[in-house]
Symmetry: C2
Subunit: 259 residues, 2 copies
């Protein structure tokens, strides 16, 4: 009786899949909160001693890499180095998922650095700790199937269980849209923050919305801003166009109105 009870318990534990989480910054922590009901989370972070989190076991890189699903939640510019360190510990058939704010370069890095018997899925959750304060149901996530068929199973989990709005796309299409949606928003926010103090007493509703947008991204770690503005191959041309049009409008407004 005692033995069979022990076996049943062990098999129950095994039914909960293990998920390796490489990187435990602000976004890793947000993910852990939403994934811990469904996975045994084995997290590894290069920081000396990450703050404890519910349902998360901290471990070494090798153990986290041995999970059937491994999520890379490190800054985009550290991805090649993390992939190189991870590579010897990955098992055949492992699904590696990244969550970076850009997709072209991380995809290139994963395709170049991961063993060919490992599946690859690119994701970009279009939210962060600020915008996910009231929960993540209904928020968007971009999903790029790169290698293998796991993306569809992962997409179904994200859609049905986490209730995210999953947008299926390619790394190129993603980065082109994000160069505008994120690139411009973060650029404008960064400039407005530099212009502080800004009005708070006499404000219009439209300025209030602009300030809400600024508030939503201003506390992002610097790595996020760098990924969005520097690691997106299309961001520089979008910035240049915004700057040109702003300068052009400034010149037009220096002359009296026509008509």
């Amino acid at each position: 009786m005692e033995l069979s009870g022990g076996v049943a318990q062990a098999s129950h534990v095994l039914e909960i899949p293990e998920l390796g989480l490489i990187g435990f910054g602000a976004f890793g922590r947000l993910m852990a909160r939403h994934l811990q009901p469904y996975f045994r989370l084995l997290a590894h972070d290069s920081a000396e001693a990450p703050a404890p989190a519910e349902g998360v076991t901290f471990t070494d890189l090798a153990r986290a890499a041995a999970c059937p699903v491994v999520v890379l939640a490190v800054p985009v510019d550290q991805l090649p180095a993390v992939i190189a360190a991870l590579r010897p510990h990955l098992r055949p058939g492992t699904v590696v998922v990244d969550v970076g704010s850009v997709k072209v370069r991380p995809t290139e890095a994963m395709l170049a650095g991961l063993p060919p018997d490992v599946e690859i899925v690119g994701t970009h959750p279009l939210f962060g700790p600020q915008s996910a304060r009231q929960g993540i149901a209904g928020l968007k996530l971009a999903l790029c199937p790169i290698r293998g068929r796991s993306a569809f199973r992962i997409g179904a989990f994200l859609r049905r269980v986490l209730r995210l709005r999953v947008v299926l796309t390619t790394p190129e299409a993603h980065d082109r849209e994000m160069a505008v949606a994120q690139g411009l928003t973060h650029l404008i926010a960064a400039v407005l923050v530099r212009m502080e103090p800004l009005p708070t007493r006499m404000t219009t509703r439209s300025f209030g919305l602009l300030m809400q947008a600024v508030g939503m991204v201003r506390h992002d770690p610097p790595g996020v801003f760098d990924a969005i503005e520097r690691a997106n191959p299309y961001a520089a041309e979008v910035r240049a166009r915004f700057l040109d049009l702003t300068a052009e409008m400034g010149r037009a407004l220096a002359h009296p109105a026509e008509g």
Copy 2:
């Protein structure tokens, strides 16, 4: 009986104060909707045949000018001409109120062009037809007492009856804050509109807020944009600063990140 009934009716009619409304564009129409329960509205517009509006009687300039309160709801650049046309018809003690998006130049025009026995109140309702869609209670209005004591009575009406949040200020303080709050918002919105089509599928919450701000001002009549960007004496320097900081950030982002 019949006579006294007639007198009573006439005196009842006289209890509802008359308000002259000069200009019946989008904002005049919005004002009329909220003022008509409390005033007999006599409107004059230079347009051939304005669309009818509930509780509004269209009349000539002289009749509208003969009301105890006259509200100028014309584009800021037309204000000096309208004041000149109005002047001969105004009665001593009339309260003239403007609703322009800037306050320094309209105040100068009113002080220079209106007879000395007329009171002057500058206002800027910090909302428009878009932002007032769900009603005006709780929205902000900047109030500048210029000449006479009526501003305080008007402020009490706006606060208690229309439930606006009234911000007492001076034309200079108003225009300085608005050069940022409105000047930048409308500049950014105008540039983003020129960059269309913009992403709609993969969007973050912060970009969504930015687009909501754009949607709120993009249908403003061109006169509003001109007033905000050209008729505000501080707008050009704020634009120049925004442009400089954006260019500076663009240059910094052209080099690899430090550290």
